[in-house]
Symmetry: C2
Subunit: 207 residues, 2 copies
Amino acid sequence: MAHPIPAKDLRKTPRQERSRAMVERIIAAGQAVLLRDGYEKASTNRVADEAGISPGSLYQYFPDKEAILAAVIDRYAAEFSTQLTAVLADRLDEPGPALVRASFEGLLDVLTENIEFLRLVVEVLPRSQSGSWAGALEQRISDLVAAYLSINRSQTSITDPATSAWILVRMVEHLSVQYVLEQPPIPREKFIDEMVDLTLAYLGPAS
Amino acid sequence: MAHPIPAKDLRKTPRQERSRAMVERIIAAGQAVLLRDGYEKASTNRVADEAGISPGSLYQYFPDKEAILAAVIDRYAAEFSTQLTAVLADRLDEPGPALVRASFEGLLDVLTENIEFLRLVVEVLPRSQSGSWAGALEQRISDLVAAYLSINRSQTSITDPATSAWILVRMVEHLSVQYVLEQPPIPREKFIDEMVDLTLAYLGPAS
DNA sequence: GTATGACGCGAGCAATTACTCGCATACAAT
DNA sequence: ATTGTATGCGAGTAATTGCTCGCGTCATAC
């Protein structure tokens, strides 16, 4: 899969193949250093070292250190968002309860995909960087859920779709993330059952 | 209220009144700098500056920079824990639903008490420092809730108190924190109503 | 083939960092 | 008053940081 790099984060657009590979290596090295040494120890010199290039070369394309690390995060964010959207879109035609269950399973799958990076994003990184896209994704999904609830309102006992969507999305997101990272002694299937129960009970009887 | 300082975090125990006041000023300055300049910019020299003392004086009592900031966090954590415990203990004799509602109201009150610091702890600080006590507090409350659920199991439809407690505690905690920090367009009373509905629906009918 | 500019290098700089140490001062006990 | 010690100071240091700049190399256009 290709990873297009947003032009605004780059100092200049790479024209030759060589330089595009360079940008790629920088981001890969950034990710490696971030995972291996943590955020505090992720210095520009270390990234350059890991990439096997010169510190100066970093600044050919990235304006500053933050931009490099932001590119790494953006990459993960994009992949995460893509996967999640695909998984959800795949099951959108299923009826109520099955849709809920399938969505949760898909979310857990995507979250489990790259646990180390997930831990990095939610535990180590200052929210100022990762918060922007995470908040945006939350908002998008909240809107989606609110629309869904609005359409199927007759089958539920909720009064305000927007409020319920806000609560449901935060709840499911955080519980899933915590479950994956904390690895509590709860079997995966049981955990999903509980979240489904919670959701359906909250939405009210289907009658 | 007095703020006892754990001895293991100090290089030596302050004997004279003067030095006890000094430690106090260091922690206060640490808190001020942390809130004003953020975690990244919170340097030892800056803390010393804010406190109006010499950099060397910091190291009379604190072994390193981390210990200073940890003391600031510990202070907030202790206050938070105390307040929360007090609020919950106050209402423990109320019956089921009223207890749930009262607990949530108390939690929201305590969280709202010092919003800036709360934001700092959950958004800015690397979890490695704040995570230890937060996790411990989560565990303690989880155990408490699990015990409560176990005793009153006949009135609920849950099967595994430990699992349900794990889910409930994380859910309520995170929803409340997010509500306070994000300030969504949901009235406080409505938000509490929703959380109560969610909880009671999950626990099952009281019959 | 040659000229032009994209590309990459890496020594090195200015700034900041956490932290120390020798010395002056304030206090408490005698 | 004198002495022993707890306290505080602040210039100083070694290390690290993000980042620059002059120069050599290489791919591409003509």
